[in-house]
Amino acid sequence: MKFRNLALAAAIASVGLSSAVFSTAAQAQAQDQFFPVLVYRTGAYAANGNPWANGYVDYLKPINAQGGINGVKLTYEECEFGYATDRGVECYERLKGKNATLFQSLSTGVTFALTDKATVDKIPLITAGYGRSESQDGSVFTWNFPLLGSYWVGADVAIQHIGKQEGGLDKLKGKKIALVYHDSPFGKEPIPLLQERAKMHGFELQLLPVAHPGVEQKATWLQIRRDRPDHVLLWGWGVMNSTAIKEAQATGYPREKMLGIWWAGAEPDVKDVGAGAKGYSALTLQHGAEPNSKVVKDMLAMVHDKGQGTGPKEEVGSVLYMRGLISAMLGVEGVRQAQERYGKGKVMTGEQVRWGLENLNLDQGKLDAMGFAGVMRPVQTSCTDHMGSSWVRVHTWDGSKWAFSSDWYQADDKVLRPMVLEAASKYAAEKNLQRRTAEQCAQ
C-alpha cells in the first residue's frame, strides 16, 4: 500500500515536471518586448541583490502605463539564482526561450559563462559596471555591453583619486596600496590595471584575497595591521563589505584611507556599522544615492503611491536601487534606439536591440528629460566602444548617509585603451574570432 502511494506520487510528479518544463518553453510571446530579470533575493548577497532588483522592476512597471516603448508593451519575469553561476545559466536558458530582449546578469561569474552563449543565441548582455573589462572592445565582444564603466575604469579612477589625496600621482612613489578583494573573477578583474598603474607610478601593490562569502577576514586585517598600507582598496560585495569595515574598525585602520569599488559603496554595506563607517569612501558608477532627483520622485509618484512598489518605499533612491533603475533604463533606451532604425512600434529582436545598444546616444538633454538630471552624464556607445562613458565620482559615508566628496573623474584612456585592445585580441585569438571590420560595424 505504502509503495503504491509512492509510485503514484512519483508518476504524478514526473507528469507535472514534464508539463511544467514544456509549457514554459511553449509560452513564447511575440507581441510584447520581454525583459528577463535575473535576481538574487536570497542567499549571501540578498541584502544587496534586493534593492537592485526592486529598482530594475520598478522602472519597467510605469512604462506600460505610459504607452510602452512607442506603443510596444513590456513584460518581465524574475528568475532567482542566488548568485550561483550554474543556477544563473539555468535561468538564462529558461527565460531565453521566451524571446528575451537582453540579459543583465549582475554577477561576473554568470557574465563569463554567458559571454559565449549570448553570441550563439544573439542576445545582448548588458553588464553595467561589472563583467569583463575587455568587453569594452565591441569589435571583438559583439554582444557584451559593459555600459557606464568596467572594473578597469574603477581601478584607474581609484588610483587617480588616491593620487589626488596624496597631492599628485608622482607622490605615489614608494607608497603601499593594499587591494582587499573578493576571491572570484569579480575581485580579480582590477588586478591587471592596478599592476600597470603600480609600474607607472612606482607604488607597491599588496593583494589580499578574501574567500567567498567574505565573513572571515581576521587574517587579512591582521596583515593590514602589520604592514600598515597607506591606502586600502576594497573590492567586495554583499556581506564582505560590512565585515571589512567592522574589521577595519577593530584593527584601528582609518576608514578615511579606505576606498571601495561601486559595489562596496551602498547603504547595506555601511548601515550595520553606522557611525563606525564614517569617513569611508567608495566610487560611484556615475550615480550615488539620489533621493532628491526627479526620477526618484517620479518613481514614488507613479509606482509607490499607487501601491505597486516592489520593495519598501524607504529604499527608493538608495544607491543600489538607483543602479537597478539605471540598468533597466539603459536596456529600455537600447530598445527605443533600435526602434528608430527598425521601425517604431515593433517588437525588437535581440539582434536589433544589439544595434540599438551599440548606437546609444543619451545626451544630457535626453537624460534630463527622463529625470536623470544631476544623476548621470551623457552616454554614447559605438561599435568599438561598448562602454559609452567612463565618468566616476567618489562619495563618502557621513555616519548616516552617502554624500559626494569629489569632482567627476574620467578613466585615463591612455592607460585603459591599450590594455583593453590587448586583452580583447588575446580573447579573439583564443576563440579564433575575427575583429569586426568598419563595414561590418556599419551594418
Partner: protein
C-alpha cells in the same frame, strides 16, 4: 504478469554471466538507451537539453564515479569536487598547450590526471577510515581550490582566474548545437556506465565489496587492501575527472574554481546516499533527484500558486524550494534508507507478482 523470468532457461555459462539475466531487463535497458539516443533529441527543446539533460548526464557520471568509491569500496570521500576540477583544468591545459590535441583524448587525459591525484589522496585510506577519511579527503578539496585560484599557470595566466574553451570539435564534427552536446555526453555516460557495471561484476569489484564489508576478513582471504583501496580511488577519480572535463567543456564552456567548490563534493556524496549506495542505477536516480527536483520545484510552485490564485514572490519560491527539497530528502531517507535504487528493486519484486500478489 509481464515481468517474470519463467521459461527463460540459461543453457550456457555465457548466458548465465550476462549483465541482465532477465530478458525483460535487457529489453528495458536497450529501450531506454534507444529512447535517450533517438527519441529524446526529437522531443526535447533547447532548454531541456542545456539546463536539465546535460547537467543531469554529467553529474550522473560524476555520481557514478563517487558511487564506485563510496558505495562499492566503502571509502567515504569529500574530495569529488576537487577531482572534477582536476579533470577539467587538466583537460583544458592539454587542449591549450598541445597543438592539435583531440578533444576526447584531452578529456580522457584529464581523467587520468584526476586518477593520479586520486591515488595520491587515497593513501590516507590505508590508515584511517570512515569519517576520518572523509576529513582527509577534504584536504584535496581545499588544496585544489587554492591551486586553481592562485597558480596562474593552470589557468593559462587568465587575469580573472576564469578559463574558457574554444570550439568543441571531434574528427571534423563540430559539437555546438545543444542536441550534439547532449549526444556527446550521452555517449560518454553510456560507455562509462557499462564499464562501471562490468568492473563491479569482475574480480576487482568483488575485492572492493569485500573491503567494504569487512576489511580484516578480506585481508585474511588474500585480498590486498592497498591494491583494492587505491584502485578504487583511481577508477573513481578517473570517472569523476572525465565528468569534470565534460562539465567544464560541454556544460559551462567557461568556468572558475567556484564551479567545483566543496558544495559540489557534498552534492555528489548526497546523490550517492539518496540514490543508493552500491548501485549503478542509484547514481542516476540520485543525480536526477538533486539536479532536476530543485529546478522543477522552482517552476512548479509559481504554477501551483497561480492555480489557487496566489502570486508567490521570487524570494518566497526560492525559500519554499529549499524547504520542500530538504523535507523530501528526509522523507526518502526515512522511507527508504537504502536509497531510491532500493525502491526501484522493490518495485521490480512487486511487479513479478503483479497483478495477483497473493
Amino acid at each position: 504478469m509481464f515481468y517474470r523470468e519463467n521459461g527463460q532457461f540459461k543453457t550456457s555459462y555465457a548466458a548465465d554471466q550476462q549483465i541482465f539475466t532477465i530478458a525483460q531487463d535487457k529489453w528495458f535497458v536497450w529501450g531506454l538507451i534507444a529512447f535517450a539516443a533517438l527519441a529524446v533529441p526529437m522531443l526535447a527543446d533547447e532548454y531541456m537539453f542545456r539546463a536539465i539533460l546535460i547537467p543531469f548526464l554529467v553529474l550522473s557520471l560524476a555520481a557514478l564515479g563517487v558511487n564506485l568509491l563510496v558505495g562499492y569500496c566503502g571509502q567515504i570521500t569529500l574530495g569529488a569536487g576537487a577531482f572534477m576540477a582536476i579533470g577539467a583544468y587538466a583537460a583544458y591545459n592539454f587542449m591549450v598547450r598541445i597543438d592539435g590535441m583531440p578533444l576526447v583524448l584531452a578529456m580522457l587525459l584529464g581523467g587520468v590526471s584526476a586518477a593520479a591525484f586520486g591515488i595520491l589522496f587515497g593513501i590516507p585510506s590505508l590508515r584511517v577510515r570512515g569519517l576520518y577519511l572523509a576529513v582527509a579527503t577534504l584536504a584535496a578539496q581545499f588544496l585544489c581550490d587554492w591551486a586553481f585560484l592562485r597558480i596562474g599557470w593552470f589557468t593559462n595566466h587568465s587575469s580573472s582566474g576564469s578559463v574558457s574553451v574554444a570550439k568543441l570539435e571531434m574528427l571534423g564534427w563540430v559539437i555546438d548545437s545543444p542536441t550534439e552536446k547532449y549526444l556527446f555526453c550521452l555517449a560518454f555516460v553510456i560507455a562509462f556506465a557499462f564499464i562501471a557495471k562490468n568492473l563491479t561484476r569482475a574480480a576487482i569489484g568483488r575485492q572492493w565489496m569485500a573491503i567494504r564489508d569487512m576489511d580484516v576478513a578480506a585481508e585474511v582471504i588474500g585480498i590486498r587492501p592497498m591494491f583494492a583501496k587505491l584502485s578504487a580511488f583511481a577508477v573513481s577519480s578517473f570517472f569523476v575527472g572525465v565528468a569534470g572535463a565534460l562539465w567544464g567543456f560541454v556544460h559551462l564552456g567557461s568556468w572558475e574554481p567556484a564551479a567545483f567548490s566543496v558544495d559540489r563534493s557534498f552534492q555528489l556524496l548526497f546523490m550517492v546516499i539518496i540514490g543508493g549506495m552500491g548501485s549503478i542505477m542509484g547514481s542516476f536516480f540520485g543525480a536526477a533527484f538533486i539536479v532536476i527536483l530543485p529546478i522543477f520545484l522552482n517552476q512548479f510552485l509559481p504554477l501551483l500558486g497561480s492555480l489557487v490564485g496566489v502570486t508567490v514572490s521570487t524570494a518566497g519560491i526560492s525559500h519554499a524550494e529549499l524547504i520542500i527539497f530538504g523535507s523530501l530528502i528526509i522523507f526518502f531517507l526515512i522511507v527508504e534508507p537504502h536509497g531510491l535504487a532500493r525502491l526501484w528493486s522493490i518495485a521490480k519484486q512487486k511487479l513479478r507478482l503483479w497483478p495477483f500478489p497473493h
